[in-house]
């Protein structure tokens, strides 16, 4: 059986991880490579690195970081943050990333998805969508959730898949940071209406939340940051729990 995937997400600024400073057993908690090695040794199925650097210098540092990660990590990893052209994607894949996630730039210019998929293959193009429930339903938000659009989230994700996205990374802005659980209904709607895998993100607080998003939300993968970074949930324990609940995981 194809296993449900558990994906820790690391925010990287100027080549260093931000958040999650109280790791135990790491020489240097700010070193993304060391943290990534820890997670992959514990059984993370994939990793996501989001570059939140604001400067060109920070971006360059990120590219060389991606090369280091590719040398040392033996599971697949996705990179995102600030990707706006096919050249950006080429640079990051060339440095050794397995997939690139695009968000704001794809909304501004949907043909970016098409050209990226044509140049690099759909399997390495992840469409990241930040969705927020408004009075008009689920809408797409940009710039890390700060800017509203009038795009319907479900329609946008369907269109993204038609244009060539090979995977969807769906973050619920309502759930993000609450630790009250993933957004189940929206995740299920998307997962049932597109033909590519869906990664659910935002709201993970407990092991039960992961079970829910896999069983009821029909997610193919679940992404979380702080519950892993702060040691509130240990990946091996989470996976054993999911297995006991009858969910296929890689142990």
């Amino acid at each position: 059986m194809l296993a449900k995937r558990i994906i820790p997400c690391l925010d990287v600024k100027d080549g260093r991880t931000v958040k999650g400073t109280n790791f135990i057993g790491l020489r240097d908690a700010g070193d993304p490579v060391e943290l990534a090695e820890k997670y992959s040794a514990e059984g993370a199925d994939e990793l996501v690195f989001l570059d939140i650097s604001a400067t060109n210098e920070g971006r360059k540092t990120f590219t060389s970081l991606v090369s280091d990660i590719a040398r040392r990590i033996n599971v697949p990893f996705t990179v995102g943050g600030g990707i706006s052209t096919p050249d950006d994607i080429g640079r990051l894949l060339g440095a050794g990333a397995d997939k690139a996630s695009i968000n704001t730039a794809a909304v501004r210019d949907p043909s970016l998805i098409e050209s990226a998929a044509r140049n690099f293959g759909s399997q390495c193009i992840v469409l990241a969508v930040d969705a927020k429930l408004t009075d008009d339903g689920w809408r797409v938000f940009l710039n890390g959730g700060r800017m509203a659009t009038d795009l319907d989230a479900i329609e946008w994700m369907r269109r993204g898949v038609e244009l060539g996205a090979g995977e969807i990374l769906l973050t619920s802005m309502n759930a993000d940071g609450t630790k009250d659980g993933f957004e189940i209904e929206l995740t299920r709607s998307i997962s049932e209406s597109v033909t590519v895998p869906v990664i659910a993100s935002g709201g993970a607080g407990s092991r039960d939340d992961f079970a829910e998003v896999f069983v009821r939300g029909k997610a193919d993968a679940a992404l979380a940051a702080s519950v892993f970074h702060y040691g509130e949930i240990q990946i091996p324990e989470l996976k054993r729990f999911l297995q006991m609940r009858g969910i296929e995981v890689r142990l």
Binding site: N74, G94, G121, Q123, E167
Partner: protein, 194 residues
């Protein structure tokens, strides 16, 4: 030991080179037929689309170079598919070194590509020395090689397909050994020990 990786337009050569480095081997990445022929082991990786890859291989006469190899060769993912006789992906005639057809997942009730960690069973042959049935490895593919007499590992995604096969000196795996954690590194080591 000299290990060569076939350099061409659809190879994720850096990922494979990184994985080899993790098991202590510095490979040569080349499209030179003589260098490929003189290596002890050759790895033929691949990520991308079949017809574009085949056109490139023919243009550089790498098709002949690969066919002339007598040492152990390992095809990975698209590399496995290109070693077969033909692929449904844009009706491509492939290298014809493995007597199998490459078919597309029907995608009825299943997400395509088959992406993520899945189990391999019915393991046999030296690549899987020391493995128990049911190990998880990492797959990303929309096309698969049908099961046959030379299948050395099975996987099920809707239907059963060949996760690995061995035919003479040609070995092939559909999954990404270079991204399959410790399990993948051990399979690479087993290949290097052939």
């Amino acid at each position: 030991m000299k290990v060569a990786i076939v350099k061409y337009n659809a190879g994720n050569t850096a990922s494979v080179a990184n994985a080899l480095a993790r098991v202590g081997v510095e490979p040569l990445i080349t499209d030179d037929a003589e260098l490929l022929r003189s290596a002890d082991k050759v790895i033929f990786p691949g990520v991308g689309e079949a017809s574009t890859a085949m056109a490139y291989l023919r243009e550089r006469r790498l098709d002949e170079a690969i066919a002339s190899l007598r040492q152990p060769v390992l095809g990975v993912c698209l590399g496995m598919q290109l070693l077969c006789s033909s692929s449904e992906e844009n009706e491509t005639e492939c290298l014809g070194l493995l007597p199998y057809e490459v078919r597309r997942f029907p995608g009825v009730g299943l997400k395509v590509p088959h992406m993520g960690w899945n189990q391999v069973t019915d393991l046999r042959g030296p690549l899987f020395d020391g493995f128990a049935d049911g190990e998880f490895v990492y797959f990303v593919h929309s096309y698969f090689v049908e099961v046959g007499d030379h299948t050395t590992a099975l996987c099920r995604y809707g239907e059963r397909f060949a996760a690995a096969l061995s035919y003479g000196n040609f070995h092939a795996v559909q999954f990404h050994t270079e991204k399959s954690g410790k399990v993948g590194e051990r399979i690479l080591e087993n290949f290097l020990n052939l």
